[in-house]
Symmetry: C2
C-alpha cells in the first residue's frame, strides 16, 4: 500500500511551485533539478498536473509552469488524486471494481474507515502549509 | 495505494478461521471455497500466515488449519503486515528505502501522519470483532 513514484515527485514539483513568488513561472528543467528528478519524468508529471487543472502551462519566451490556483486551495489529497487516481485501498471501496461480499463482509467497513482516515489527513493539509517551510 | 490481493484474501481466510468454533481445523479446500478463491492461492496465503505465526497447521487425518492464538489478540494490521509487509505508504517512511530530503521535506511529516492514521484504524480492529458477524 504505497503511493506511486509519480505522486511522490508530483508533490515535490507542486511544493516547489507553491514556494515560488506569485507570478513566477518555472521551466521543466528548473523543476526537475529542484525535485531531484529527470526532465523527462518531470515533464510527464507536469502534463498530468496540467490535465488535472492544478498547474497552468505558458508557452513562449517568458513561458513556464505555475499553479493554476492559490496554494491554500490545493490539498495533498488533490495532488495524489490527480496523479494516482482516487484513493482506493481495496477493490471493495466505492472507487474500486467492487466485491459482492461487501454488504456482509466485516472487513469492508474497516477498509472504508481506514481509507477515510487516510483521506482526512491528506485532505487537511494544504499545499500552502507544505510550501511554507520551503525555500522560495 | 492499495492492499494486495493476497492481503485481501488473507483477511477472508483469517476471518473464516476465527468464526469457526474453538478447536475446529479447516482444510485448504474448505477455506478456499469459503473465501471464494482457488486452492493454490489459498494454500500460498496459509503458508505465509503459518510463517508469520498467525495460523497453525496440523498434519494427518484430523489435520487442518486453525488460528495460532485467540482472535481477540490478532488485529487487521497484524494480518496485513504478515502478508504485505510493514505499512509503508512512501519510500521516506521508517520502513522504506529512505529519502535524504526527509528532514526538510514538508510532505514527509504528512505522509507519516497519514500512515499513522491508517495503522491506528487497522490496529484497533481485532479479528474477533470482524468474525463476530460471520457465520461460524
Amino acid at each position: 500500500m504505497r503511493i506511486t513514484r509519480t505522486a511522490d515527485y508530483g508533490v515535490r514539483v507542486m511544493t516547489r511551485l507553491a514556494a515560488a513568488p506569485t507570478g513566477t513561472r518555472m521551466t521543466v528543467a528548473e523543476l526537475a533539478q529542484e525535485s531531484q528528478s529527470t526532465v523527462a519524468f518531470t515533464g510527464k508529471i507536469l502534463q498530468r498536473l496540467v490535465g488535472a487543472r492544478l498547474v497552468v502551462s505558458h508557452r513562449g519566451f517568458e513561458g513556464g509552469f505555475e499553479l493554476a490556483r492559490p496554494a491554500d486551495s490545493i490539498t495533498l489529497l488533490d495532488i495524489v488524486t490527480a496523479l494516482d487516481g482516487k484513493l482506493c485501498i481495496n477493490e471493495c471501496m466505492p472507487e474500486g471494481a467492487g466485491c459482492d461480499r461487501a454488504p456482509t463482509c466485516a472487513a469492508h467497513r474497516v477498509w472504508l474507515k481506514a481509507q477515510e482516515a487516510l483521506a482526512q489527513v491528506l485532505g487537511a493539509e494544504s499545499l500552502a502549509q507544505m510550501a511554507a517551510g520551503q525555500p522560495g
